[in-house]
């Protein structure tokens, strides 16, 4: 499992955003037309995890684990650990892909 995420990089200040920034750079205000498209590998290091026991929707079924990952290329994102992945802890490497718009992550062993 591996995928790239589409994003934007601001040539003026270097800020990287994913999903692509649609309005203007959040760091320096550069116009959206000046932002450069980038592809970010969906891989990085676990910043924190939380196993969710109560959820307001039937899907995903509980319990599921939310993982906050800092991508190797910068941005911090939240995704969900795929069923069947080895458990992850802070500092572990994970990689992911998008499924129905959701970042699904698994441990890199």
């Amino acid at each position: 499992m591996s995928a790239v995420l589409h994003g934007t990089r601001c040539p003026a200040c270097g800020r990287v955003a994913t999903p692509p920034e649609p309005y203007g750079c959040e760091q320096c205000g550069a116009l959206v037309g000046t932002l450069e498209p980038v592809e970010l590998p969906a891989a990085g290091v676990v910043h924190a995890t939380a196993t969710v026991h109560r959820h307001h929707r039937p899907e995903p079924a509980t319990p599921f684990t939310v993982v906050e990952v800092v991508l190797d290329d910068g941005p911090a994102l939240k995704g969900v650990l795929v069923a069947g992945s080895d458990p992850v802890a802070i500092g572990d490497r994970v990689r992911g892909e998008l499924q129905d718009g959701r970042l699904m992550l698994e441990k890199v062993s």
Binding site: P22, A50, H53, R54, V66, L77, G79
Partner: protein
């Protein structure tokens, strides 16, 4: 930031009133709000026609709740403005009311927060900004992630974090306006996991209620014969929003650090001078994060300190003596106004069995979706 307007023309809290925070009920918001405003008027000794302007904080009521509610005190034609700033709506109503007095435009101004937990519409969700969470990350998981990061960093135990809720439920049990008024043991607080180490009793209840404060100038104190010992002064009022922090930065704590620093500088006080703090403890971990962010103690020190009772009523500094958001509750609009009411009660020495001994200096702190942060520093008058 420019000069602190509250330094030029002193602003005092002269009246406080509340409607108990409670689960959703059929009670109209008008009845909730009027209960709080009438309470604040009675507490101040002022009459409704003395009030020159009103700021009405609510996040969920929709357009124009202010005049229809306040007109039932007698439609005097006073200035009425609606204030929405997410969880900080009430705090922002207080901030604008304080500026109204400090500017010299008015001498007696009402800030009232009132809300009903219904009809949620959250603009950032329809802003056209995507994410990869697809609805899996709600606030309790946001803070569960922060809790794990914090605990790993400093070796703080789940029990130490849960102590925040044990303390605040005990405080709420002594507050007749609190939604939750039951003492809870550590095992009770640790039961019933919601997300990560956050359990049901470490998450705040969102219900309904109302809180009101009346602010006044020195001239009004003299004109109406108000006892200055019952009129704590608002030393500073600061509002900030989230800046473009580097990836992985704990947003809420960093925003809190920046906002409280400005508020302490404006007030000319240090965090360690505080006797009482009402903090945005929507989730237990937040209290520890924010006490450290505001410089009350060093990084990683809040866990051991709460275990030692440093933040109990009677401890080094009473934190959330009202019960905080965890026990008093978080009905959105009222919450920030209720914090100012509690700190006022403490600084007057009128908090009864919740009284922090010799409380002279207090702080209120709210964070709202955005993120935004609003902080007030208050001092006893004599």
């Amino acid at each position: 930031m420019g000069r602190n307007p509250l330094a030029d023309r002193p602003v005092h809290v002269v009246g406080i009133g509340l409607h108990r925070y409670q689960p959703a009920s059929p009670t109209p918001f008008v009845e909730l709000g009027l209960t709080a405003v009438r309470g604040a008027l009675a507490d101040s000794g002022l009459r409704w026609p003395d009030v020159e302007a009103a700021f009405v904080g609510s996040a969920l009521l929709g357009m124009a709740p202010g005049r229809v509610m306040l007109s039932r005190l007698g439609a005097t034609g006073l200035a009425i403005q609606q204030v929405e700033n997410a969880s900080a709506s009430g705090s922002t109503a207080v901030a604008l009311a304080a500026l109204e007095v400090a500017s010299g435009r008015s001498d007696v101004v009402l800030a009232v927060g009132v809300d009903k937990a219904e009809g949620w519409r959250i603009a950032p969700n329809s802003a056209g900004l995507g994410n990869y969470e697809a609805g899996t990350v709600v606030p309790f998981t946001h803070f569960a992630l922060l809790a794990e990061d914090y605990r790993q960093r400093y070796g703080t135990t789940a029990e130490q974090v849960a102590r925040v809720a044990v303390k605040n439920h005990a405080n709420g049990a002594r507050n007749p306006y609190a939604q939750r008024q039951k003492v809870r043991s550590l095992p009770e607080v640790l039961a019933d996991p919601i997300s990560g180490s956050m359990t049901r009793l470490q998450c705040c209840p969102v219900g309904e209620g109302a809180a009101a404060v009346i602010l006044a100038s020195d001239e009004a104190l003299a004109r109406f014969g108000i006892d200055p010992r019952r009129a704590p002064r608002i030393l500073s009022s600061v509002t900030r929003s989230e800046a473009a922090y580097p990836p992985g930065t704990p947003i809420d704590a960093t925003l809190t650090a920046h906002t409280t620093k400005l508020a302490f500088d404006d007030a000319g006080v240090a965090p360690t001078d505080l006797d009482v703090i009402e903090v945005h403890d929507a989730f237990s971990i937040e209290e520890l994060l924010y006490l450290e962010a505001m410089g009350f103690c060093g990084p990683g020190e809040a866990g051991p300190l709460i275990e030692q009772g440093a933040f109990d009523i009677g401890g080094r500094c009473a934190v959330s003596p009202s019960g905080g958001l965890l026990a008093m509750g978080h009905p959105l609009g009222p919450t920030g106004v209720g914090q100012v009411a509690e700190v006022t009660r403490q600084l007057r020495g009128e908090a009864g069995d919740r009284q922090q001994p010799n409380a002279r200096l207090g702080l209120t702190h709210m964070v709202g979706i955005g993120a935004v942060c609003v902080v007030h520093v208050l001092a006893a008058s004599t």
